[in-house]
């Protein structure tokens, strides 16, 4: 902003009109802007890169690696070395293959939980936030319930109730989702309530738009930022809760492998055979860390204040 002094230009209404071409090129400016904001955060980029790398590694390596997670190899209680980069456990599992499998399980659980609880949480939160009244009352009571009892306690009880079935990764995901959708639905509800104060909702109402249209076209896209961010952070939360359950002896069970289970099994040897504990713990921390970085980057990128 410079050099206008004395030019005598009043605040012309169509001042921007000449710059139309410049704008045309920035049509997808919102997405582009979000991407740029995301890319500006180095931690988010690094997080994403690490995450993608880990995923790619987990997907590809089992095809190339000579051992499967369930193979019992000739070596047992072996320290890391050429044949077994992460060593082997006491009965002879290759820990490298097991760690990869553990990552895959933990990520599968986390992704499914994030997906399920996001969908359910969004739908319920939207209904409660938009229609209020009975819907809202019920949701808020359920939410109170969940907020009152530690999530871990609820999932422990649920997993115990499901017994053997609770040890499959799919059912474990259901158990976790059954609890974790609630904070998200609260978030969606709150976001919707504040979005509904915006005049454009009333404007849509004035045009006679249906409730469905208002929710789907006007409210949810604007709530997408917090929802996506929360879904990302949910991935980290799900991994931690699942790992804590496994650590306490519920949830995924041998012979299936998960990071929590590997850590639980290796912890007794944390000082004598640190690799049993160290590698799974390292990857667990790495995944949670990078997921949170990505989530934080998204938060910045999707922050509506960024565009204003």
């Amino acid at each position: 902003m410079s050099g206008v002094q004395g030019s005598g230009v009043g605040p012309a209404v169509d001042e921007h009109a000449e710059k139309i071409d410049a704008y045309a090129s920035a049509r997808n400016s919102q997405i582009a802007g979000a991407l740029r904001a995301f890319a500006r955060r180095r931690s988010a980029l690094v997080g994403l890169a690490v995450l993608l790398l880990i995923i790619a590694f987990t997907v590809i390596t089992p095809f190339l690696w000579k051992y499967s997670y369930s193979d019992i190899t000739v070596d047992f209680s072996a320290a890391p070395g050429w044949r077994h980069p992460f060593g082997t456990d006491s009965i002879g599992h290759d820990l490298f293959a097991q760690t990869l499998r553990g990552i895959a399980t933990s990520l599968k659980v986390a992704t499914l939980v994030a997906l399920l609880s996001t969908v359910v949480g969004t739908v319920v939160g939207a209904v409660a936030g938009y229609f209020g009244r009975a819907w809202d009352a019920v949701l808020m009571r359920v939410a109170d319930l969940i907020m009152t009892i530690p999530v871990l306690a609820i999932t422990l009880v649920l997993a115990n109730v499901l017994g053997a079935k609770g040890s499959s990764w799919f059912l474990l995901s259901l158990v976790l989702s059954a609890v974790l959708w609630i904070p998200l639905s609260r978030l969606v509800r709150g976001t919707l309530l504040s979005l509904m104060k915006n005049d454009y909702i009333d404007a849509a109402r004035m045009l006679g738009a249906s409730d469905r249209r208002i929710i789907i076209r006007h409210l949810l896209p604007n709530a997408a930022g917090p929802i996506i961010v929360d879904a990302t952070l949910m991935v980290g939360r799900a991994i931690i809760v699942a790992a804590s359950m496994e650590y306490l002896g519920l949830g995924i069970q041998a012979p299936e492998v998960s990071l929590g289970l590997l850590i639980q099994r290796g912890q007794g040897a944390a000082t004598t055979q640190p690799w049993l504990f160290g590698f799974p713990a390292l990857f667990l921390v790495l995944i949670i860390l990078s997921v949170n970085f990505v989530g934080d980057g998204l938060r910045d990128a999707l922050d509506p204040r960024r565009t204003v």
Partner: protein, 559 residues
């Protein structure tokens, strides 16, 4: 004291001030681009200019209150109370600057609702200001606080010192902020839009308060505003800023009479004045009624930690087809509540409200939705009335899609016509709302409201978020469109001048009730109700001579 004695050397001298903001790593924004001005003791200097022209930044740089990202260049010299000699403020150590703040130069901010710390009592906060620079015993301090509160017109100051900010009204809060500045007895007060957030009646009182203090204590005042009426009321000299530069300086009367710079001319021309533009004649034959309200009551139900609240109390009014009814009144008087009720956005608690032949009390959701397409609504704030994720094309096409009134292929055509109607280029269709200026956005808002050719439009302060010059253009557009489309309109505003320009008839609201209504000209020229008279009396007129006269008369009445 109406003219200032010119001391030989200025109290504050700003030379070639530049403020740049670092944005990102390499971008720079020049917020203030080499401005100069001076303030003499006992003088009121007004700084005017459009929003974003750098007024606040200038004020903040005097006290070194700029954010860390700002770099300041140039010179700001203040004549120090202790030495009597001018001293450079730029580059002063924070400790030295701290001794100047409050004690020699005090500042009053625009937003009274956020200028006070919500968790401390006002007495505590004023006392804190007092003790920042002088050693005063607890008792004396308390007495001084009560005294200053009394002086700024807070009732029952002995009791009120122990109140928290949220227990005061906006006007009172601004008085408290002023008290906080006055108690330190500074040589210079910088007031950054001290009345913008306030009602005209309250504004007048605040201006009187500042004037009285200047007259009594001889304190110099820098008054930042964009309201020409305020300038005319209080200031001796004025500085006009435009895009970071000073475009014009001079005594107020001279600038008003003979503005030199085109921007100043533009600005002065755009200011709406009561009685200058001819008020519109009432619609000849009010035979067809668009809206009729009888004993309308609007209540907000009790909620979380809140009792139920009656916002509109037994109001009756009518709007004829093709007629513009102006609705004015102080903030919180229930204007928006009423407007939203007419639009069907708020339910009414009792009484009867018929809009376009449809009784709105107890109406079903479905019926309400279908009847809404004949009603348009223009919102106050162009920033929040658009879905930020939707292109303007979709935004303007939505009315047609929702009501299935136009075939898909014709949508483009229909939207283009709307753009034409509000004088915007059709290419704007591809833009997102944030890619438009406020005025342009408000045009789109109007386009959306008239898309379905409604026979009734409700406009809730559609221009109050805009600069005066832009406001003028929007109002002109509004008049044009009303003439062309001949819709009935409820136009809500707090600006009497706007009513004067637009409305056939005017209703005045106060505390949930309509205290007066009639033909606009009648209401403005021969106000019957005391409150209307007060309202008109407080309205600053952007003409120094007239305004001085008015305010001295007002003071005579009130004192």
């Amino acid at each position: 004291m109406t003219t200032s004695e010119r001391a030989p050397d200025p109290l504050l001298e700003v030379r070639d001030l530049r403020v740049t903001f670092r944005e990102g790593t390499d971008q720079q924004v020049e917020a203030v681009d080499g401005i100069s001005f001076e303030v003499h003791p006992g003088e009121v200097l007004a700084i005017v200019g459009e929003s974003g022209s750098g007024k606040s930044i200038t004020a903040h740089s005097v006290l070194g209150l700029l954010p860390p990202l700002a770099t300041v260049a140039g010179s700001i010299r203040l004549r120090r109370r202790t030495s009597g000699r001018p001293e450079e403020l730029i580059g002063l150590s924070s400790g030295a600057m701290r001794r100047i703040r409050g004690a020699e130069v005090a500042m009053i901010f625009q937003e009274p609702s956020t200028a006070l710390n919500p968790v401390y009592t006002i007495g505590w906060q004023i006392k804190e200001a007092l003790r920042a620079h002088s050693r005063v015993s607890g008792r004396t301090a308390r007495d001084m606080v009560v005294e200053i509160l009394r002086r700024v017109g807070i009732p029952e100051p002995e009791k009120r010192v122990g109140y928290y900010p949220h227990q005061f009204s906006g006007g009172q809060r601004q008085r408290i902020v002023i008290a906080m500045a006055l108690i330190q007895n500074p040589d210079l007060i910088i007031a950054d839009e001290p009345t913008t957030a306030l009602d005209v009646t309250v504004q007048a009182e605040i201006l009187d308060l500042l004037r009285a203090h200047r007259d009594e204590a001889g304190t110099a005042i820098v008054l930042i505003t964009h309201n020409m009426g305020v300038v005319a009321d209080l200031a001796d000299r004025m500085v006009v800023m435009y895009q970071g530069c000073v475009v014009e300086t001079g005594p107020v009367s001279e600038v008003f009479e003979q503005p030199q710079h085109p921007y100043t001319r533009n600005l002065l021309a755009a200011v709406p004045r009561v009685g200058v533009q001819s008020a519109r004649e009432p619609v000849a034959a009010p035979d067809r009624i668009a809206v009729e309200g009888r004993d309308v009551v609007i209540e907000y139900p009790a909620g979380f930690r809140r009792a139920s609240f009656r916002a509109v109390n037994s109001v009756s009014f009518r709007i004829a087809a093709g007629e513009v009814l102006g609705l004015v009144g102080e903030s919180g008087s229930g204007k928006t509540s009423l407007g939203r009720a007419v639009a069907g956005l708020n339910p009414i608690s009792s009484g009867s409200l018929v809009a376009l032949g449809q009784e709105l009390k107890g109406i079903s959701r479905g019926k309400l939705r279908s009847s809404r397409k004949d009603v348009g609504f223009v919102f106050q704030d162009p920033a929040t009335s658009f879905n930020p994720r939707i292109r303007l094309f979709d935004c303007l096409a939505e009315p047609f899609i929702v009501n299935n009134s136009t075939e898909r292929p014709q949508l483009r055509q229909a939207v283009n016509e709307l753009f034409d109607l509000v004088h915007l280029p059709r290419s704007f269709a591809e833009r997102f709302p944030h890619e438009l200026s406020g005025g342009q956005r408000q045009r789109v808002g109007i386009a959306r409201a008239i898309a379905l050719r409604p026979s009734l439009i409700i406009a809730d302060e559609p221009t109050s978020a805009l600069d005066v010059s832009v406001q003028a253009q929007i109002l002109t557009l509004f008049t044009e469109l009303q003439d062309e489309l001949n819709y009935a309109c409820l136009f809500i505003t707090h600006d009497l001048a706007v009513v004067d320009m637009l409305a056939h008839r005017t209703a005045v609201m106060r505390r949930g009730e309509i205290v007066e209504q009639g033909a606009t000209r009648e209401v403005l020229l021969h106000p019957q109700h005391e409150y209307t008279q007060q309202l008109i009396g407080s309205l600053p007129v952007p003409d120094p001579a007239v305004q001085r006269d008015r305010s001295s008369r007002r003071q005579a009445v009130t004192s």
